[in-house]
């Protein structure tokens, strides 16, 4: 029974276990890893990817994808910094970042939902044009930020907590409530599970889809704001290739690219794994060339371990209680166990 329960826990929280394992390993290899200041640093660094991945989770849950987040981040940051430079109004600058993000997201959503274009292409196109607009707007140069109030968003503290971490936690808390406690949250899962059935059930599929892309854009804008504040300047090249990291965090966190299955807390774990890995490799001063190798291998090990845990779990159950979906690929099984049920 206890063994069984342990396995059940491992299956449900496999990636969390792997995150803990990774931290322990890094702690053993470097005594500075577990200092409170380093842990705050890791979390703050994971914020950028974590925020993008949060919006991405919604999109992927509906079965979509958003490749534009990196470019949207840059565009929102640039326009925000530009607004600040020309008006000096911090509130306006914050709204500009969020507004730009939401607008691009809305465009992605409308195009993916109503004419039902493939989101991969729609958001790839946005990735291109938003980056282009950023370069045009900035003329390829960074825009400096001087206002302390604005900088506070990236560099300030609320008590012992860095502001970006506060923003991250609030965001995830809101999304957790949204996904598990609200009607539209359930619809996000349902649409990813069976869009056709949802349409026949009279669910406003297109509106929900538009909504998730808008949220993803909004979060990309928010991320652009945080990053700009943190770097005290908007970078025209900010966020290049961030979309892949965000998607990776979502999938590491157990959300299926097919849609319909996954949890927002899983994504947080995924983002933390990636952040911890970067931090650890830096702390240990692994040579830059080997870092990529190490990163690839650790990620691979993580998914393999997760898979093995589930397998061990289902084997254990099988010999005891007898689950044996011989034909079902083990992973589907694994995924189903992390279903959307709150």
């Amino acid at each position: 029974m206890t063994e069984n329960r342990w396995l059940g826990w491992m299956q449900r929280y496999g990636m969390l276990a792997i995150l803990v394992l990774l931290c322990l390993a890094l702690g053993l290899m470097n005594e500075r890893f577990f200092t409170p200041s380093n842990l705050l640093v890791v979390t703050r660094q994971a914020t950028i990817n974590g925020l993008l991945a949060a919006g991405m989770t919604l999109v992927i849950l509906t079965g979509g994808i958003d490749l534009s987040v990196g470019s949207v981040l840059a565009l929102a940051g640039a326009i925000s910094a530009g607004t600040l430079a020309s008006t000096g109004d911090v509130t306006l600058a914050v709204l500009a970042a969020l507004g730009v993000g939401a607008l691009v997201g809305l465009a992605n959503g409308l195009l993916s939902a109503y004419p039902n274009l493939p989101p991969f292409i729609v958001t790839l196109a946005s990735m291109a044009w938003a980056r282009g607009l950023t370069l045009v707007y900035t003329d390829g140069r960074p825009i400096l930020v001087r206002e302390a109030a604005y900088r506070f968003i990236g560099g300030g503290y609320l008590g012992p907590m860095p502001m970006p971490v506060v923003i991250l936690l609030v965001t995830y808390a809101l999304l957790l409530v949204f996904l598990t406690r609200t009607r539209w949250g359930r619809l996000v899962y349902a649409i990813g599970g069976n869009e056709q059935a949802c349409r026949l059930a009279g669910i406003p599929v297109n509106r929900v889809k538009t909504f998730v892309y808008t949220v993803s854009g909004l979060f990309a804008g928010l991320t652009g704001l945080v990053l700009t504040a943190r770097l005290v300047s908007a970078q025209p090249t900010a966020g290049v290739a961030y979309e892949l990291n965000a998607i990776a965090a979502v999938i590491l966190g157990g959300t299926s690219l097919q849609g319909g299955r996954g949890t927002i807390l899983g994504t947080l774990v995924g983002a933390l794994i990636m952040g911890v890995l970067d931090n650890g490799l830096n702390l240990m001063n692994v040579s830059p060339f080997y870092q990529e190798v190490a990163k690839g291998l650790v990620i691979l090990t993580a998914v393999l371990l997760d898979w093995a845990l589930h397998r061990a779990g289902s084997l254990g159950l099988r010999s005891r209680a007898g689950e044996a979906a011989a034909i079902a690929p083990p992973n589907e099984e694994a995924l189903s166990r992390r279903g959307p049920t709150p």
Binding site: P142, L231, N279, N282, L283, P288
Partner: protein, 271 residues
């Protein structure tokens, strides 16, 4: 007359300055200037130059993404009888009318020497490396490490990649600050990384402990030097490079003799 300039990337203020210099010179001389951006991809640059040749430009200025990879493009231009001028980085082969550049290896040495001098030959240094595999990262690293190698009192305690990117410079430096209790100097392969690192250092309150040296002398960096936050930045004068490249091309087209190598002096910008 039409001149094409194939820039390695415009996602970086340095090359934007270079382009601006070229455009200013072209405007002044009444020459049409075509600009292409290879986004750091040698294959894309080859395409860009092929497209220039198809359009029948009168001269091509190349800022190679890579000295080796640019060779086939230059050979094609040679075959088409279009004169080629290289700027910032050279070409390993092919006929080039003139090469206009400052020496990145020398720049790396300048940074190294400054650090050795300021530290009195003893201390811990950190090197922030640019995108692995790019010539700028290679050459600047080479020059820097040559000098450090000759000064056993200075130890490079961390050498980490930060992709020529300010955000990455920030987070990598944050991590290094966690790992290294004592750092005396930081050399970053460009100003973007240096400024990112500076933000991390200042946030950690450790700016008194170490000096930071960058590369490129971008506007932001020069400002930081003026404020005394950045110890120095190696100036390559990209605007001048762009201007000289266009002027040299025009001179060549007029049949004037031009120098095979036009050095653009490096300057160490300090307070």
């Amino acid at each position: 007359q039409t001149v094409g300039i194939a820039v390695s990337t415009l996602n970086n203020p340095f090359f934007v300055d270079l382009r601006d210099g070229a455009q200013a010179a072209a405007r002044e001389a009444g020459v049409r200037l075509l600009v292409s951006d290879a986004q750091n991809d040698p294959n894309r640059q080859l395409s860009d130059i092929e497209n220039f040749i198809v359009q029948g430009v009168d001269a091509i200025i190349v800022n190679p993404t890579d000295s080796a990879a640019v060779v086939p493009a230059i050979l094609q231009a040679n075959e088409a009888g279009i004169p080629v001028i290289t700027v910032d980085r050279g070409a390993d082969d092919g006929r080039v009318v003139s090469h206009i550049a400052s020496d990145n290896v020398a720049g790396g040495r300048m940074a190294g020497e400054l650090i050795v001098e300021r530290l009195g030959g003893k201390g811990n240094a950190v090197e922030l490396v640019g995108i692995p595999g790019t010539s700028a990262a290679r050459d600047r690293g080479q020059g820097f490490n040559e000098v450090i190698g000759k000064n056993p009192g200075i130890r490079v305690v961390a050498r980490q990649e930060a992709g020529f990117d300010r955000a990455k410079g920030l987070s990598v430096m944050e991590n290094i600050l966690q790992a290294q209790p004592r750092i005396d100097a930081v050399f970053a392969h460009n100003d973007e990384m240096a400024l990112g690192a500076l933000t991390a250092i200042e946030a950690a309150g450790r700016q008194k402990e170490m000096i930071v040296v960058g590369f490129d002398a971008t506007a932001d960096a020069v400002q930081a030097v003026k404020e005394g936050r950045l110890a120095a930045t190696v100036a390559q004068q990209p605007v001048l490079m762009g201007e000289l490249a266009v002027k040299t091309a025009i001179a060549h087209l007029k049949g004037e003799a031009v120098d095979a190598f036009v050095p653009v002096p490096l300057k160490l910008v300090t307070r």
